[in-house]
Symmetry: C2
Subunit: 222 residues, 2 copies
DNA sequence: GACAATCATTGGCGGAGTGCCAGTAAGCGG
DNA sequence: CCGCTTACTGGCACTCCGCCAATGATTGTC
């Protein structure tokens, strides 16, 4: 009946864990809560309670609430790498794109909830640090895409190429969203759209590069 | 020397304004601050100070901080309507798309800062109300696009069409961002990309509609 | 022109959340 | 068995939010 030798077998007041383990545990709880309600409505007290831990420990591990949030988002952005189809003689770019898209859509389908949740919380709001994290994720996606279509060398010299892929990535995300969240598209339709648009985009690259190159570096306001 | 007839011309302790005027003024300050720093880091006290108003007045007009925020975002989402090119005999869809894109890019160029700021704060974060507001804005954009390309009637029956436009809109936003914010694309390049991709997308519609239609209504998780 | 009614506006109160720090105890080596 | 390291807790000081009674600028009326 007492609480020190109850049925659950010696519930010690303090369970001491390895820092990494505890850190991951807290992070997991934070991720779950942040993906369901907006930042300002999730309290550290709540996260701590969910993790079965005192509130002060969050600050011990992550410093501030914002940093905990950023860590959670960062963790969510990490996606298992999709293999890049090997170059084989005679294979069309179209096939490579098709394969890669299949892999991408397959990944999304497997992790529906995780991905949709990440999509919901994956949004800056005037937060520069967060924006940087998201930008890094998008950059990795672009790296992947240039690799798939075999334009990585060119994309190093011409930032326009990367920029165009960034635009395409946004469309890929939004279109996938229409499939997984609102159900207004089927997977096949998403595949069709993304494949054809990407191939068309590739066709435009020559004309795109004919245009005067953009300003040397990021000074968007002269 | 006294404070009621000083140089600045009778600074009365209380200036009483018309509710609408005061409301707009507060909203403007909130918009400016929210677009520079994330929601949680902007305090009502600060907004009130910027508006030269007591803090309690914010609650009087907007109820809660969140509602003020939503009002600010909503205001930012409202875009002056871009005229839809009239249908003229013999004009190609390509021309109509080109004209409309020009108008859109022109609008962005005129309101650079406003638009980039709106883009930064225009992001949900697990907030359903906010998400709804953003979705409405995107829906209006899609309405506009279907009108331009003359597919409004079709888009009523087939949600896939709307969904595809939503994807395209995301690409349009991201690409414009690459132009205005990072400067990695020129306006001409943005125009080229968006025009060609849209025309290509239109070409895909027949194949898109051949696919089995998506599930009847929004039940994404069967 | 004085008075009263209206309502925009203020200041402060109670509650909640955050960051931080001194203290506590769980594991480990001697 | 003792003492050291350090994961962990509890509570203090501060800020911020939502609310409400009080206030005074403005307007209509006699």
């Amino acid at each position: 009946m007492s609480d020190d030798a109850a049925g659950e077998g010696t519930p010690p007041r303090r369970v001491r864990k390895e820092p990494d383990e505890r850190r991951d545990q807290i992070l997991a709880c934070a991720r779950r809560l942040f993906s369901r309600r907006p930042y300002a409505e999730v309290s550290n007290t709540e996260i701590a309670a969910a993790a079965g831990v005192s509130r002060g420990l969050l600050n011990h591990y992550f410093g501030t609430k914002r940093e905990l949030y950023l860590a959670a988002v960062s963790k969510m952005m990490s996606v298992p790498p999709i293999p890049i189809p090997p170059f084989v003689e005679g294979a069309e770019v179209r096939d490579r794109v098709g394969q890669s898209l299949d892999a991408w859509l397959e990944l999304l389908e497997r992790n529906r909830e995780t991905w949709v949740a990440a999509l919901d919380m994956t949004t800056s709001g005037g937060d520069e640090d967060l924006e940087r994290i998201l930008e890094e994720g998008r950059d990795r996606a672009v790296d992947h895409m240039t690799e798939v279509v075999g334009l990585t060398p060119l994309s190093r010299d011409r930032p326009e190429i990367r920029a165009a892929f960034h635009g395409y990535a946004a469309m890929a995300v939004a279109t996938s969203r229409e499939w997984l969240k609102t159900g207004r598209l089927t997977r096949a339709q998403v595949h069709l759209i993304l494949q054809e648009v990407l191939l068309n985009l590739l066709d435009q690259f020559p004309r795109l590069l004919e245009e005067e190159p953009p300003r040397p570096a990021g000074d968007a306001r002269p």
